[in-house]
Symmetry: C2
Subunit: 617 residues, 2 copies
Amino acid sequence: MDSDFGIPRELSPLQQLRSQYHPELPPCLQGTTVRVELGDGTTVAKAGDAHIIARAFPHTLGQPLAHFLRATAKVPDAQIITEHLPKRVGIVFSGRQAPGGHNVIWGLYEALKVHNAKNTLFGFLGGSEGLFAQKTLEITDDVLQTYKNQGGYDLLGRTKDQIRTTVQVNAALKACTDLELDGLVIIGGVTSNTDAAHLAEFFAEAKCPTKVVGVPVTINGDLKNQFVEANVGFDTICKVNSQLISNVCIDALSAEKYYYFVRLMGRKHSHVALECTLQSHPNMVILGEEVTASKLTIFDIAKQICDAVQARAEQDKNHGVILIPEGLVESIPELYALLKEIHGLLKEGVLADNISSQLSPWSSALFEFLPPFIRRQLLLQPESDDSAQLSQIETEKLLAYLVETEMNKRLKEGSYKGKKFNAICHFFGYQARGSLPSKFDCDYAYVLGHICSHILAAGLNGYMATITNLKNPVNKWKCGAAPITAMMTVKCWSQNAGPASIGRPVIHPATVDLKGKAYELLRQNAQKFLMEDMYRNPGPLQYDGPGADAKAVSLCVEDQDYMGRIKKLQEYLDKVRTLVKPGCSQDVLKAALSVMASVTDVLSTISSSATSGQQFA
Amino acid sequence: MDSDFGIPRELSPLQQLRSQYHPELPPCLQGTTVRVELGDGTTVAKAGDAHIIARAFPHTLGQPLAHFLRATAKVPDAQIITEHLPKRVGIVFSGRQAPGGHNVIWGLYEALKVHNAKNTLFGFLGGSEGLFAQKTLEITDDVLQTYKNQGGYDLLGRTKDQIRTTVQVNAALKACTDLELDGLVIIGGVTSNTDAAHLAEFFAEAKCPTKVVGVPVTINGDLKNQFVEANVGFDTICKVNSQLISNVCIDALSAEKYYYFVRLMGRKHSHVALECTLQSHPNMVILGEEVTASKLTIFDIAKQICDAVQARAEQDKNHGVILIPEGLVESIPELYALLKEIHGLLKEGVLADNISSQLSPWSSALFEFLPPFIRRQLLLQPESDDSAQLSQIETEKLLAYLVETEMNKRLKEGSYKGKKFNAICHFFGYQARGSLPSKFDCDYAYVLGHICSHILAAGLNGYMATITNLKNPVNKWKCGAAPITAMMTVKCWSQNAGPASIGRPVIHPATVDLKGKAYELLRQNAQKFLMEDMYRNPGPLQYDGPGADAKAVSLCVEDQDYMGRIKKLQEYLDKVRTLVKPGCSQDVLKAALSVMASVTDVLSTISSSATSGQQFA
């Protein structure tokens, strides 16, 4: 482990300017007094999972939503958090780095210090491994100085994104006990937040006083549900990728002889690819969710691309840009089946060289058909969550290869009359992940950090910090916390999940909602994007002037504020209660009973058949 | 060819803002009247080439340098350009796109219109092919509207970077004659400007009145000599690449388990790699020029990297970032020899599959040793200039492969005790080439465009537009023009040039000067960069605030302004002439004679042995 964590860095002029930027706080978090209002207890997203989740979380299931309000807010039940005994809090980066992560630490540190100068914040060095080994760095003004609004996770570093095995959770328990922590904040994506919920339950069971809080930070944008509108890092990643994609679009248009196949980092689902498409308008995007829904084979996809190339050539366009999410390979049925067979054999200890001969006839035929480079990549060991090493499998090269083969065939046969097909392949991910965070990510992460402090002050355990209404300016943001268990579901069977997640309540990564408004926007424009080269160039990330305050398109088009709407419903219920108090007229009571009977009927019916749509792969 | 050239585009908010930016003009070009001062006739860079170049350029060799001065400048010989008959000018993108190219067109258009509203500018559509086919678009305010300060070459498009064969130069002559052009402006790099000079000579010989002007626009930064300090596009490319490189540096530092091998577009020489290193401070860079000078084999280079990885691991650093110029493969002696053999066999019509068996024993052994992916890439047809397809040869993967193999061996033997070596490879180029241009490139290109107009007004043929003193603010820039022939040299033997350029006077791409100040700066810091992770993050290209006015480090450290110093020398000579007029004392004359004899002696000696250093590979 590097001993250089947390040392001051020399900053470039732009970094210096950014380090002086101080995000605004929403009104509810301003000042030293915050009220917390606890709403109704939460339920689980899918009724059928309730008993399994209840068994796994006897102590932390069904806790209420929490809303943070200003001290002067006129809400009768909201309690002012007054107890501010000195607290000791730990924070850890768990999982892959995302721009903005540093600001969660900064926000938490500032909130802790505002409420009691004796509060202390410890950063665990080297991610979860640092937690287990109790390697800490006390966060101070000096330590934070050159990391405010800066990218990367290099203030503390990170290792594996796993706090799961018995050895690991016991080590975490020991660390929190030895260090006498009142709170542990875990920064990460779906896996890390799932681990946070299990750890919270484990601590509650063990009567450990440390409260565990999760923060949704992941470039994949797949930690999305009723409570969580966006993830820290997603905005930056999509802006940096869109800059690069639009650069290759302009390049394609200038040279007029290349097709660019661009694979985008973002794990199983296609949120990054969808958002980048909406920002930069490339000619095509192949979303994994569409492929799954239409059960397309790799040859179907290649044929779709070939037909597009041919149609464009007929309009004298011999160039184009095609986006491919890195998770696509797992959305293609026959490739996924092949991967599963390979992973099964690897787990049995079969050597990579011998696997080909032990595959089923169908998988073997497919495997032998594939070009050697992709065969080698498919034989790689799977990741800790049983998924393939998506960043290492060059699906874009496989598609380019298949398309080139087919276009050469069509050219020879005379059915295609355009220029010789020329592909250039790219993988965009690592070069975006370490970027300076966008203003949105700086603000979002900083405010989430503040919320963590209030969650701990309210003594809540197993919660995730949440902000809703994100598409509006910061002064309209609504701050709260949701029990992580309310975001969990259980898979008893699954195409895309490994055995580790079957039967275990986890936060499943959200798929792109094919009924959602962002996807609808894509569909409305897909044909124009394909044929008319409507390339849009948002340009490099700016911190001033036009574009500096832009937010993700997919965030802005969706109707969100689920938490706000839940509150609105409560207001209606309260109003009905007030209108129909004992002493009201018979007619009013009769009308109320009739309408409410009908409402409950309708909702019961919908609820029993609902499968929440968003969360299941 | 696409029929969509020159259509207005929809601009993003940032693009709109940029389209409203209007570059400043240096004082000498402001107003409607400009003086041109013609200096002494130019010589060639290398005395030995003089007779060959003279034979090739009987009409255009030895022309004087031109300086553009303000109308009020007190220079006795400078003549005011007054003749402003309506002119017809053509402009063409020749060669690979570079950010800023559009602004040359804009600057030229504005200058032409200021001097005579009846001047017309025609853009050739689709590069040199459009020139041969006489496909034009008249440039107007409307046409330029959405292309000012924007990246790409999509206003006009581009095809091959070649105007060289008899058929091609005759087609160009016919186009210029048919369209009655007074001037033809060629935007491009070393190859295109070489072609411009030959075309100028050909036109002069054919008594065609069209004057040919070249503009130094290339991302490679290799059109550098006494007259040309920088190339349009280089600044942007280096900034965008440095943004991405520093992002992977931050990524490496956060995850602490990867070595990033980043190959950079930039053709044969290592200007882009050197500049990006000075901007972003990665751990290592392998400059082609160093490899050539030290005669390192691919195994030597791999071993250097292995030793660096090992030294870093001993300090608990298991991550790093290594830059590799795309031209490196041609700087490595044995790989270059292998490539030449392969290209020779390909030219004889030997099929790629049969080449391996026909190689010399030494090359064959090397070829068989290399991993299959790189063998396939080495077998690709060479480019039109006889160099290998550098963008397609993944030298970074080859090095990563060799280093990984060696590190695994050392790990097994116990001599290396760090983490398992993990490499991630990148090629940065296409995603930078289409970028919005930096402010510097916008300004530089726009002013060069203006200069082209003045060159044509002065009736000069075979000149390149030049600006010196670039590291100073625009109001200190010195504008001029230099005969392209003065930048030419002749190679009678050559390691790096194909037969096409042997014996033919051409502008050879400048190598990185290993005695220059930019390289010295790298050497001074190399050890610190290697071991101390001094990663610098300039951040994304900005248009406002810190960094927006930054210029290339390699531009700022060099003593430049060659043209200014040439003028200074002339002033000294004039002063001596004044001091030693007939009538001066015997003593003064004696002293002058003695000193001048010594000066001329020293200079003769130096000149005869000089090989100007910069220009020869």
